[in-house]
Amino acid sequence: MVTAYATQLATVPVLRAQEEEEVPVFPVVGELIIGTLAFAVLCFILLKFVFPKMEQMYQQRVAAIEGGLAKAEAAQNEANALLEQYRMQLAEARTEASQIRDEAREEGNRILEEMRTSAREESERIVARGAEQLAVERQQLVTELRGDVGRLAVELASKVVGESLADEARRAGTVDRFLAELDGLDTAGASR
């Protein structure tokens, strides 16, 4: 065991000596240059052609999402504003409608009142005119009747008496006295 280890120890420096030229702990100039070159090529291609495109895509996506959100928010705001507007308009319309109803009721009442008044006036007027007309007609009738009655009475009396009442003055007096009596009868009848 010990001897085996010793031989191994003895062979190690020999091995080292053979392969001394490269130990991975120390950088080799040629490897450094090739490594730099390879990484530079990779960086050049990726940084110039790949990642700008990806970043652009990212920005576009962010813009699209944020734009969509902003748009949705704007639409929401607009919808809210519209709703508010409609509510206000509805309330206004309601107030206006009730106002109009009130006014209409008032107006109706007023018109009814007016019509009632004018109808009353009209009827009163009609009644008054009727009465007036009646009075006029009555007067006319009275006048006519007075003449007729007088004449008829005279004629009747003439026939009954058989003589013509030539004396105008007496005749007029008789007739008038008769008519006055008639009037008295008439008014007594009316007042009864």
Binding site: L15, R16, E19, E22, V23, P24, V25, F26, P27, V28, V29, G30, E31, L32, I33, I34, G35, T36, A38, F39, V41, L42, C43, I45, L46, L47, F49, V50, F51, P52, K53, M54, E55, M57, Y58, Q60, R61, A64
Partner: protein
């Protein structure tokens, strides 16, 4: 490793225990340029395959972009979104978004580099040799200092490091060296070493259990052969464990870079 054929069984025993030799790969092609020796190995090939894979993946992910993403686009954007909204923004706020592309590249590159450790047949992370972590750490180091200088100017930026805001003058003799060491020296070193050491150790761990299993299986002792099952089982468990470590290390490297950037950008650092 497991892929090695059985006819090399004579050498398998000698491969256990695994050592630094397992990190030296056969040089496929070697050339000199401006006096610098370049060796193309399995790791070099894997490095470029990582780059190619990421380029292909992300190119396909953004090829046909849609507002509602397809599967591939979603995968790519998830990676970007994970770093952007999970690291860059929480660390640096809105200012972090402009660093998100670099941090995503860094994160994905480290993850893929680390993943090679458990991808069958490949089974060696390119970050298990320190060169690649050093490159990435140096870039992070230069980046956060450069960002700080650009934002505050040389005087104010280094002033903020040398004379931390709110510290009384009589403590500066102690605080200033600590700050200089931690910000200007320790940060890049720890970044590189942390990633490298984790991947190195992880690879070593998998080698120990896999090679150990093979060695036990090839031994003449029946008990040893039986115990090789345990060794292989541990190799599988450790592979799952390493998968987590690989992601965590990529995450740590990236979030620390973001943190350093945040420190450089902050009004008082």
């Amino acid at each position: 490793m497991t892929a090695r054929p059985a006819l090399e069984s004579t050498t398998l025993a000698s491969e256990f225990p695994p050592g630094l030799k397992d990190f030296n790969f056969k040089v496929l092609w070697e050339f000199q340029l401006l006096g610098i020796n370049f060796e193309i190995t399995k790791l070099t090939v894997l490095l470029w395959v990582s780059v190619l894979a990421l380029v292909v993946f992300f190119s396909l992910a953004v090829r046909n972009q849609k507002m509602v993403p397809g599967r591939l686009q979603f995968a790519g954007e998830s990676a970007y979104g994970f770093v952007r909204d999970g690291m860059a923004k929480p660390m640096m706020g809105e200012e972090g978004v402009r660093f998100a592309p670099y941090l995503t590249t860094l994160f994905c590159f480290i993850i893929v580099s680390n993943w090679w450790a458990i991808i069958p047949v490949v089974q060696i992370p390119t970050t298990a040799k320190i060169s690649l972590p050093v490159v990435l750490a140096l870039i992070s180091y230069v980046l956060f200092n450069w960002v700080g200088i650009r934002k505050h100017g040389v005087k104010k930026y280094f002033g903020g490091i040398f004379w931390p805001a709110g510290a009384p003058w009589w403590i500066l003799w102690l605080l200033t060296p600590i700050e200089i060491i931690s910000t200007l020296i320790a940060r890049p070193v720890t970044l590189a070493v942390r990633l490298f050491a984790n991947m190195f150790a992880g690879h070593m761990l998998l080698l120990v259990f896999t090679f150990g299993g093979v060695a036990l299986l090839n031994s003449d002792n029946f008990v040893n052969k039986t115990f090789s099952i345990f060794s292989f089982g541990m190799a599988i468990v450790m592979t799952i464990f390493e998968f987590m470590v690989q992601i965590i290390q990529a995450y740590v490297f990236t979030i620390l870079t973001a943190s350093y950037l945040q420190g450089a950008l902050a009004e008082e650092h």
